[in-house]
């Protein structure tokens, strides 16, 4: 099984204090720590698990700056065989559609049975690249994937639905699966492992190599532009009720009644 995994190098924002950049179009990233997108980490682990079980190869691909090398090296240390970084000044400002176009141009000529992406990225949370990429390639896709089983010529896939439900679907290969977190337990990547992975192949390609024009990528090649980015204002403050149980219950009822909710 030849697997391609699309990954993204993203800032970690869960613990960080987020500030908006002067341009009002993005967040300030200077003091943030970057790493592989959490969903993509699960996707790479799943690809490596499939390779370990079924043979074949794993190729990790990213669109990003030179900084993304650390994410690709992590993929190689995790067990990917090759990595490709797509870097060009013209790619900057690309939306999900433009990113999918760049990926499509490279992936269409590569041999693959399966493409894995994370279900979404931790920074913009768009969850679109995988789906658009599958459309451009003309292959089926399955999102929110929690389990993958390979059966002769196709895959049996568990999708996560709301309310704790899962549905099982079958898809013919080649297929794109957008992986949800929790599908596996990504193994620890040691520093020694990353150092050893330095020996593996890492290709860097640009606009000309992918065969796109400047108009087709970046902001001009995108369908979505960011108008303004802002931190949602705190409009209402929480009120902590004090007193005995009866007292608190009475206050809650009064508040709900006053607001016309009951």
């Amino acid at each position: 099984m030849n697997v391609i995994v699309c990954v993204k190098h993203v800032p970690e924002t869960a613990e960080a204090e987020i500030a908006i950049h002067e341009s009002r179009k993005r967040i300030k990233t200077e003091d943030l720590v970057f790493d592989i997108n959490e969903w993509d980490d699960y996707a790479v682990e799943e690809a490596v698990l499939l390779k370990e079980k079924l043979g074949g190869s794993v190729t990790a691909i990213t669109v990003g700056s030179e900084d993304a090398d650390s994410t690709l090296r992590k993929c190689l240390a995790r067990g990917a065989d090759k990595a490709v970084r797509l870097t060009d000044k013209a790619f900057e400002g690309s939306d999900s559609y433009a990113i999918a176009k760049i990926l499509y141009k490279i992936i269409k000529d590569l041999p693959f049975d399966l493409i894995l992406t994370g279900a979404q990225a931790g920074d913009d949370g768009c969850a679109q690249v995988g789906v658009v990429l599958a459309e451009l390639l003309g292959i089926p896709h399955v999102t929110m994937v929690k389990k993958v089983e390979s059966v002769e010529g196709h895959v049996k896939v568990n999708r996560e639905l709301e309310g704790g439900l899962e549905e099982i679907v079958e898809a013919k290969l080649p297929v794109l699966l957008a992986v949800q977190t929790g599908i596996n337990e990504p193994r620890y990547i040691s520093i020694m492992g990353i150092r050893k992975a330095m020996k593996k192949e890492m290709k860097v390609l640009g606009l000309k190599d992918v065969g796109l024009t400047e108009e087709e990528v970046g902001e001009s090649g995108s369908w979505i532009t960011v108008e303004k980015m802002f931190i949602p204002p705190v409009e209402k403050e929480a009120e902590i009720l004090t007193g005995g149980v009866d007292e608190i219950a009475t206050k809650i009822v009064e508040t709900l009644r006053a607001k016309g909710l009951i």
């Binding site: 720590v33 337990e185 193994r187 620890y188 990547i189 040691s190 520093i191 020694m192 492992g193």
Partner: protein, 387 residues
């Protein structure tokens, strides 16, 4: 397996299987961890001989149960150093990515944020904001560097120890500075978990920080940081644990206590101060110098002390299905010897014992205090302590 190289250098082939290591291992009674058996199995692992059934080291998940308290190495009559063999085996598992996820997260936290809790670097010196502290990172030079350590920098309970230490130094008029948000993990637990590559990175970072700011003397809150700097950095660094530093001040007549503390106090020897570094007298000297305090010893103390289970990565890992932590037994022992206060000199002991006092429901019987907090109580008026 090239990772076996480090283990091969160890002296375990002189092991005579006497079993002192297993007999003295504090987690053996509740874990599959059996140092004696591991020594034998490791001997086979690196020799051309095979075992039946063949040993699969990767299935030995109990290797993560070790607290690296060093009792096995301390008592081994042949200087086999079973603890170092365990750390070497951890390295083997780790290179295969076979690490319990909470330990993997702690290591990633150190790599990305410089602390095992994975909290933002920008919050590292928040604890010191309202205190009088020099920041060497902002050009405020001082002769002595206070290396706070991750636990005292980030954990709200352990921060109280750092705050007490700073107040004590200020009261005594001692010139010192801290690294502020530039400080990064010392790597002691990283080393204990067998993550050699990451440990090397931390050594390089810390040595270059010390060099950059021209630091000659280091004082640590944690015996773990002290141990790393003293024994694992491959350099002759002038580092002291605060118990050594304050015991020196007492010897020189520079530390006298104006306040009395009328309490019965017992003391837990931290493994990384005691068994790892033979520092037993200095903490006791400080406690006994405080007027009013009566020091009573636990039944097992000094070299026979029992680990709190906070070392070797165990702050971030519970033995699967374990019932009762060693700290709980120690708290009960402390109550049995009639102590009002269980004194500690290590942030990990502080946190594990604080938890154990709560889980055993003994909040009204015993209090866990760091020696620096006792010193603050005896040194400062109640007014100054609040500030």
């Amino acid at each position: 397996m090239e990772e076996l190289g480090a283990i091969k250098k160890l002296n375990f082939n002189v092991c005579m299987q006497c079993g002192k290591c297993t007999g003295s291992c504090p987690v053996f009674p509740k874990s599959k961890l059996n140092p004696r058996r591991l020594m034998l199995e490791t001997a086979y692992l690196i020799s051309p001989l095979t075992m039946h059934p063949p040993l699969n080291i990767y299935e030995k998940s109990e290797i993560w149960d070790c607290t690296t308290c060093s009792t096995c190495s301390y008592r081994c009559p042949r200087e086999v150093e079973p603890m170092d063999v365990i750390i070497g085996l951890r390295g083997l598992l780790l290179e295969q990515g076979r690490v319990p996820s909470t330990l993997g997260d702690a290591l990633e936290g150190v790599y990305k944020y410089g602390n095992p809790w994975g909290i933002s670097r920008s919050k590292r010196s928040d604890w010191a904001q309202d205190l009088k502290v020099k920041y060497v990172s902002e050009g405020e030079k001082a002769e002595l560097l206070y290396f706070v350590g991750c636990a005292a920098a980030y954990d709200s309970r352990a921060q109280e120890v750092a705050r007490a230490l700073v107040k004590n130094l200020n009261t005594l008029g001692i010139d010192f500075s801290i690294l502020g948000n530039k400080e990064t993990c010392c790597g002691n637990e990283v080393y204990s978990l067998g993550e050699k590559g990451l440990f090397e990175i931390l050594v390089e970072k810390n040595l270059s920080l010390l060099d950059q700011y021209g630091i000659n003397r280091i004082l640590t809150t944690s015996p773990h940081c002290f141990n790393a700097f003293k024994n694992k950095y491959g350099k002759d660094l002038a580092v002291q644990h605060y118990t050594q530093y304050f015991a020196d001040l007492i010897d020189k007549g520079k530390l006298k206590f104006p306040q009395r503390v009328e309490k019965v106090v017992t003391y837990q020897d931290p493994c990384f101060l005691g068994k790892h570094n033979d520092i037993y007298d200095e903490p006791r000297k400080i406690i006994e110098s405080i007027p009013g305090i009566k020091l009573v010893e636990l039944n097992l103390s000094r070299g026979r002390s029992v680990c709190c289970e906070g070392g070797g990565g165990r702050m971030w890992y519970d033995i699967p299905g374990e019932r009762g932590r060693l700290a709980e037994t120690r708290v009960k022992e402390a109550i049995d010897v009639g102590a009002d206060i269980l004194a500690v000199a290590c942030p990990f002991c502080l946190l594990t014992f604080d938890d154990a006092v709560k889980t055993t429901g003994n909040e009204d019987k015993i209090q866990v205090m760091d020696i620096m907090e006792l010193v603050a109580e005896a040194l400062l008026s109640s007014n100054e302590q609040v500030i």
